[in-house]
Symmetry: C2
Amino acid sequence: MSASDISTAAIIGTGTIGASWASLFLAKDLTVRCHDPSADAEKQTRAFVERAWSALGQLGAVPPLEQAQARLSFHTTAEAAVEGADFVQENTPETLEIKRRVLAEIEAGLDPDALIASSTSGLMPSAMQEAMTRPDRFLVGHPFNPPHLLPLVEVVGGRLTSEQSITRAMAFYTRMGKRAIHIRKEINGHVANRLQAALWREAVYLAAEGVASVADIDAAVASGPGLRWALMGPHLTLHLAGGEGGMAHFVDHLGPAFSAWWDELGAPSLDAGTRALLVAGVDEAVGGQTVDALAARRDEALITLLRSIKTLS
Amino acid sequence: MSASDISTAAIIGTGTIGASWASLFLAKDLTVRCHDPSADAEKQTRAFVERAWSALGQLGAVPPLEQAQARLSFHTTAEAAVEGADFVQENTPETLEIKRRVLAEIEAGLDPDALIASSTSGLMPSAMQEAMTRPDRFLVGHPFNPPHLLPLVEVVGGRLTSEQSITRAMAFYTRMGKRAIHIRKEINGHVANRLQAALWREAVYLAAEGVASVADIDAAVASGPGLRWALMGPHLTLHLAGGEGGMAHFVDHLGPAFSAWWDELGAPSLDAGTRALLVAGVDEAVGGQTVDALAARRDEALITLLRSIKTLS
């Protein structure tokens, strides 16, 4: 079975991440079968899909909402939900014990050739797949929140994952409009969260040292390098900074300056004082705007941005 | 004299950075007086302004190009160029010896109340201003390349810089459409380059460890967190990741995960093997596109992006 044969997906766990995946899959014409233990999961998910629909419509053609909702169903167990599914996206709480139990329930009802992907950001696929009957078809497909808007998905196989499963999952996510990247080694934080952690560490250090305000440090990103990082990653950015000689010229001529900065980067700790300073700094920066209001503006801006730019390579 | 009185700027050093500053200042109706020792500096700068004009026009109203070029003049010495200027932007080579000599030449011809800003990315204002007659009106105004497109400018005072000069410079840059941030302590790399270095360090580490390809690491930024960083900085991003509880909730609940990643971040070196790997990785990613072609596409995309988004706080 190839990725293009996948027409039915199961979503196990329909919190924010699961409901967002469900919205995306429905927009891409899949049948979506869900399970979540929470009593109002179906109501919440259908409301999420409705809210997400206008965003999805702005990013591409979507089928009518009513027709999409008709392709969405909820089931009382994970085993029942995965019946007939070609692909499972698991989004349950981040503990190994829960994940392993859920994976066993999934395997009990699932077609043997169907793929199982976990949205986990913190657990390693090798640890999760150990007790599975068919561990070869299990992998991590870690999205960036919200999955129906942000293109990135990190695909990570475990020790027992087959190469064919990785290839099929990459092709499936690509068909769903995602930018799938292959993480070749299991590592804490995969790639994107490690990069995010690296940037934030220095940001926290500079705030804690009083080099600039929290708002000004944020502006240093959003009005400077952050504008480039929406278009291309750090390597390509510095390749262009190298001029005609590209990355080779950059490493030869500016590598020493960057190496010197690397040696001086800070190692802050998130102690009570730093926590208070960050909270006060953000409060000052947002000037009374609620998180909900900011998040709504951010998502609106993200849609505009995604519509207007074409990512370079 | 306040920032709104500044109507004539001098540009000392008209390489890529100086010519870009000149274009911006001309677009904002200033008279711009330049000096550069290179024989074809005037020709190159006028050509740069002409190329920059369409970009500047897309970002805001600009006067007719011919009228702007008439406000641009070149002079045979720095001393002559700064005559009658209210503000000097210095962009000469990054060595303390050259900068100090140029600053002496500037002071010899400059009105005593005019401000002098240096575009330096690598030198400290305290070291540069030591021998000046009026060090209180000297500061660093470090742009992100190209200054006529990227809003960020980092304002850094030295030991002898007056608070009034900082305030005036911040107000002037703001009037020029820049997002000026105040760096309160002299530190290598100021803020934005340190943040860029922090991100790239982990990117290089992950490439060197074979965790993912150079292209996939870049995509992990540009298809994920990079899209957010064009809209808001790292602190505000994580404030929103904290949900209703904001940054306080984030630090309490996700702080431990980030701290654990911090402890594991890599410390690569830019040795010959890593250099070769990065060069090969970028070559593969760009697939034959020249740096010039990529830079042109990047700048075009930057303009679209700047037009379409409103930076959140």
